[in-house]
Amino acid sequence: MSHYETVIGLEVHVELKTRSKIFCDSTTEFGGEPNTHLCPVCLGLPGVLPVVNKRVVEYAIRAALALNCQIAGFTKFDRKNYYYPDMPKNYQISQYDLPIARHGYLDIEVNNEVRRIGITRLHMEEDTGKLVHQGTITSTPYSLVDYNRAGVPLVEIVSEPDLRSPEEARAFMEKLKTIIQYTGVSDCKMEEGSLRCDANISLRPAGSGQLGTKTEIKNLNSFKALYRALSYEVERQTGILSKGGRILQETRTWDEEKGVTLPLRSKEYAHDYRYFPDPDLVPLVIDPEWVEDIRNSLPELPDARRERYMQEYGLPAYDAGILTSTKELADFFESCLSAYPNPKAVSNWVMGELSRLLNASGMDITACKIKPSQLGSLLQLIDEGTISGKIAKTVFEEMFASGKDPGDIIEEKGLVQISDVNTLMTVVAEVLASNPKSVEDFRSGRERALGFLVGQVMKATRGKANPEMVNRLLKEKLLQEKL
């Protein structure tokens, strides 16, 4: 019922998965002892010269192409000057007026509606060091700095203010993460900070073409934090505006514990970066042939792959979306198909049992012990009647835990399905003899009693009886004796 429209734009930082930093040969490895991944260049000592890591440029182009951007023919680096000790040089090398890429987009789907979100630009820059605060950023008496991360390559991706709700902002981030992961240029681990974002958010009267005053929200370390912080900010700004108040243009930080955004004092955050071309770095002229080589090396991207799963495999949109949500899961799925070419059956197992076990153990598919060929064998064993679908779930759990072949597990645990008529008849007879009440119920027309009797046979055989045969034999027996 709110008569304000929400306008959100995101600035996303993605750490690139190169071996060495963007301007020197220090390692980019995550999680080393503080201040051990340093050299005179990334420590900003006097007299040093940065030199661009070629792979950073390649990865930036790769990410930009996957986001449908136009690649610049001429690009350069600039210094962004600010007074904050996260960079030892007191400036960050970034790109200002001639970024490597512009004018891209990606499509998101929220509430069954596809929306195209513009990407203003993508540029390269160096990551900053990490400040450790005692308590919160606003109450700490002093801060400790670890410069290991200073100089790790980043691309910053700036969206157009096209997002209209916290849901869309989250969908944008999820989609961006998926696409970037497909290109292989970053792990995009929000928990390790290799994918981060800041959000600009403002409200305006519905239907207005003008933008309202925005706030910038920092410290959004998870999809949940992004969603909650933006939802909070929509409410806060709505409250102020509907009382006739004005929004203060400021930078705010998300306080996860309190669930609120708080202002960071704006004076020190003065957005007066005095950019100028970095005289230590010469410009880059990008060879169009290089760009085409990179374009040709891109894998099939998530939207195309999802579409193909629907067309070629006849999967529902929902299944296709989940299966292609990471490249690794989609690759796993397709490897299964080479062992067992029934897309719907494989999809059911991957989205059902496999996802359930992965979620429960907090693992992702790359750590999964089950090989695609093993899932294929399992499905074959069900088809051949060696095990029932129910037993297959038990076998699958064991495969998940140990990585053993399904055939070996079935043999070791004696799980082979009982399909021998004589054996089953004995059990059926026993069950009927010890459940006269159910037999009577069935005969007086209560079909549901059959289900109970089937269950008793399955229980007696510890789930190994062939359920279809049990069903048939029970019916035969019950009807025979009725006569």
Partner: protein, 93 residues
């Protein structure tokens, strides 16, 4: 025209503490400096490409290899204050 407020703003950005007298001096000196640039601005540059770099060079790259790191004690040697293996800095915000 550089005002006294401009000087105060720039001084804040550079974390410089200036006396009232210095603010007056720098405002005057910066205005003289801008005068020189105004002279340059009278030139016709319509057909001149903006300069991104003074050297006639581009595409200087390094390959993606990891080299030697500094011993941590060397890295921390010149910092004014430290806490174990970290640089220690005053509260910022």
């Amino acid at each position: 025209m550089v005002t006294r407020e401009d000087v105060e703003h720039v001084a804040l950005l550079g974390r410089l503490e200036l006396t009232d007298e210095e603010k007056e001096i720098y405002a005057r000196q910066l205005n003289e400096l801008l005068g020189h640039f105004r002279a340059l601005q009278r030139l016709d540059t319509d057909n001149v490409q903006p300069t991104a770099h003074v050297l006639p060079l581009n595409n200087v790259y390094r390959e993606d290899w990891v080299g030697q790191h500094m011993p941590r004690e060397d890295a921390l040697a010149n910092c004014p204050d430290r806490d174990e293996n970290y640089f220690k800095v005053p509260r910022i915000v």
